[in-house]
């Protein structure tokens, strides 16, 4: 396979993963590579990154694909040759080898030595992650098997102890250890991908192994680490939205013609209205009432939306937030100005208990309770935003209550975190609620940002 083929395939994979790489950028990349030396992989990566990746959120995707198409080494690399001559390397996988290997992992992680971690990850997949196949080409590699056997997470305490011995405070050491184990796990997964790509071709892996970028990742598919990252994204997202709103608002700042001022100003030009004056436009601010389902399946989505809405608080006249499972609980007081988002999240999670009597989602009952207890929240100036998957455990939907609530508000929207194809499956009442309140799909941060922007 020639270099050009590999380059084209790499670009195709990038496009497949959602990066918009144009032909012009393709040619730029070629020119950049001609201007660079080829002996250093990091330089080549920097060259590709500078010409092809124009958004930082796409960088992880780019890195994963680059590692597939331009791997760090082939097979076990140069290290394998030296190990062959090592007499003790004879038995590579037994209980003793495993515990010895785990000691090495603890040492490397406690040191924080990146190079050693990379080498250990490669070694780990080679020794504990091999899945022998029935014939040539059928064998494979599994990061899962390797991680299950070595279980780096169980080594946390030993790493923390080593870090404490090095003079770090307790909680800091714990956080650091967790982060290093996380990055080690990522390295192991990357190495398994590299080996699979080597045997089956990178195209085979590129389609399945690369996760969507964080702003396109489904709320429902997010892992714990992803949720952390998403929460960090909320504040920048709110800032971008606010900037955009201000600019759009300024673009429409000129209101209707102010006739009197225009005529008065025309006196200085002999009665010719050279400059027109306009009345300032009154900014319209919405009162927002958010009603969100916080039952397990959609809790993350509700929290993110609430955080985003509150980060944009200045753009609204007033915001009131309610959570429900089968009972309604007002959570407005938790969002004090300038509060720490992490604390707010913790408070919200703790208050979930108030939103449930029996703990089974019941939209009908929650809506009825809302009408009884908090009907005053809705008025002709307010907009109602309902968040949830409309899965009500086959209970009474109280459609007429929702109709009354939607009728008393100026606007009403329903954001559903489920993919449209899952609507109306099982106990989902998406269409029946959707007939009353317009329902839109909102699965990731990008969609959420757009929707909140439209509501304003």
């Amino acid at each position: 396979m020639s270099l050009v083929d590999r380059h084209i395939q790499f670009l195709e994979a990038l496009r497949g993963a959602g990066l918009s790489v144009s032909l012009a950028e393709d040619l730029d990349a070629i020119r950049a590579l001609r201007a660079l030396e080829w002996d250093d992989r990091a330089t080549v990566r920097a060259g590709y990154a500078a010409t092809l990746v124009k958004k930082q959120s796409q960088r992880p995707t780019f890195d994963a694909l680059f590692d597939l198409y331009f791997p760090r080494m082939v097979g076990d690399g140069a290290a394998a040759a030296t190990r062959e001559q090592d007499p003790e390397g004879g038995v590579r996988d037994n209980a003793e080898a495993l515990s010895g290997f785990r000691d090495q992992v603890v040492d490397a992680l406690a040191e924080g030595d990146r190079q050693a971690m990379v080498e250990l990850a490669a070694d780990m997949v080679a020794r504990f992650g091999a899945m022998p196949g029935r014939g040539p080409g059928l064998s494979s590699w599994s990061a899962y098997t390797a991680l299950q056997r070595v279980a780096p997470a169980e080594l946390t305490d030993r790493i923390v102890a080593a870090l404490l011995a090095a003079g770090r405070p307790e909680d800091d050491g714990r956080r650091e250890a967790a982060r290093r184990i996380g990055s080690f796990t990522t390295l192991v997964e990357a190495d398994a991908r590299r080996r699979i790509a080597e045997e089956k071709g990178p195209d085979h892996v590129a389609g399945v192994a690369v996760r969507p970028t964080i702003d396109r990742l489904d709320f429902t598919a997010a892992r714990k680490a992803d949720l952390e990252e998403m929460r960090r994204e909320i504040y920048p997202l709110a800032r971008r939205l606010a900037t955009r709103l201000t600019q759009e608002h300024h673009a429409r700042r000129r209101g209707p013609l102010d006739f009197r001022r225009t005529v008065r100003a025309s006196m200085s030009t002999g009665g010719v209205p050279m400059i027109t004056h306009h009345k300032p436009k009154r900014p319209h601010r919405t009162e927002l009432v958010v009603l969100c389902d916080v039952s397990g399946s959609v809790a993350n989505f509700a929290q993110f939306t609430l955080l985003l809405v509150y980060a944009l608080r200045d753009q609204f006249e007033k915001v009131r937030a309610f959570t429900f499972i089968d009972h309604v609980h007002e959570v407005t007081p938790y969002f004090t100005p300038g509060a720490d988002p992490a604390d707010v999240m913790a408070d919200l999670a703790a208050s979930t208990a108030h939103a449930a009597l029996w703990g089974r989602t019941n939209y009908g009952r929650a809506l009825a309770k809302f009408e009884v207890n908090h009907a005053d929240a809705l008025g002709p100036k307010s907009s109602l935003l309902i968040l949830g998957d409309a899965r009500s455990n086959y209970s009474d939907l109280n459609l007429d209550v929702l109709k009354r609530l939607a009728g008393s508000a100026r606007h009403a929207w329903w954001l559903n975190p489920e993919h449209r194809r899952h609507w109306d499956t099982g106990d989902s009442a998406a269409t029946r609620y959707g007939d009353i309140v317009p329902m839109v799909e909102c699965r990731n941060l990008t969609q959420l940002g757009e929707l909140v922007h439209d509501i304003l």
Partner: protein, 292 residues
């Protein structure tokens, strides 16, 4: 094959020369800066505030002996302040002074749209200069979307079209650096014409080098403590994580206050230098257990 160019010879050369002028660039930064010179393409630098985006442009200007032409972007920036403007007062004088003579109107008309009456603004200035020039377009994301359209011709062809004069092409292509805080997405058209570099907070080792080189009076031990504390603060999920500029400010503060040991008390007393939100400070005090 690598070709020699007037800006940097190799990525390593870029790194070495930037370092000599006091800008410690990592490998990706040096490579991208070299590419921007070699390919003669504009360089778009994005990243949080205070990681040295503007400083990169200044450092490039310093080490290559080029002059820096700076266009600071802001909301409401327009053609007249970015590209060029006709000096209409002078034109008016010219018309009035020619009224006594019997010069034809067409001659006067041709006369008043010449170089003499042109006020060049940063973009045109940078393009018409014959000496090496670094053009810094700072905080592009602050401008309106229309200004981006204005930049396109300059960024791709290094030329400016003035209807009355014709097209002015660059005599010598400037080294263009655009910086952005990513408060909004720039258009695809602008991004396509640029090389892209994301600057992030540096690792602990590099940060200590930067702090030591910027504030030589700071003791080695305090510098290490300072960088360790900053690293911990960045992990805390703050509204605005402290950037390099703030580390350097902090180092200067410690030197000015003659603090020889960065203990919990010293951190608590000077926290205002690095954290500028009340909630961030409260969080840092809680997490670092500064006031037990």
């Amino acid at each position: 094959m690598p070709q020699p160019n007037s800006w940097f010879a190799t990525p390593a050369d870029a790194a070495a020369r930037l370092a000599a002028s006091g800008y410690l660039a990592d490998e990706a930064t040096a490579t991208t800066a070299y590419l921007a010179g070699a390919l003669e393409k504009p360089l778009l630098v994005e990243g949080p505030a205070g990681v040295g985006k503007t400083e990169l442009a200044k450092a490039v200007a310093r080490v290559t002996g080029a002059d820096l032409v700076r266009l600071q972007c802001y909301e409401g920036l327009d053609e007249a302040r970015a590209l060029y403007e006709w000096n209409y007062k002078k034109q008016l004088l010219r018309i009035q002074s020619s009224q006594g003579t019997d010069q034809a109107w067409s001659e006067t008309h041709d006369d008043i749209f010449t170089d003499e009456f042109l006020l060049t603004r940063p973009l045109l200035t940078a393009i018409r200069r014959e000496e090496p020039t670094v053009l810094l377009i700072d905080e592009v994301d602050k401008t309106d979307v229309e200004v981006e359209g204005l930049l396109l011709e300059v960024l791709s062809d290094f030329q400016v079209t003035i209807p009355e004069l014709g097209t002015v092409s660059a005599v010598r292509r400037p080294f263009v650096v655009l910086t952005s805080n990513a408060t909004r997405e720039l258009s695809e058209a602008v991004k396509r014409r640029c090389l892209y570099l994301h600057l992030d907070y540096p690792d602990a080792e590099r940060e200590r080098e930067i702090v030591s080189s910027q504030v030589p009076d700071l003791e080695e031990r305090v510098a290490a403590q300072l960088v360790a504390t900053i690293t911990r603060l960045r992990d805390l999920d703050l509204k605005k994580a402290p950037s390099i500029a703030e580390s350097v400010d902090w180092a200067r503060t410690l030197v000015a206050l003659e603090i020889g040991d960065l203990d919990d008390r010293a951190i608590a007393d000077t926290l205002g230098v690095v954290l500028k939100h009340a909630s961030d400070q409260a969080r840092a005090v809680k997490e670092l257990r500064l006031r037990a």
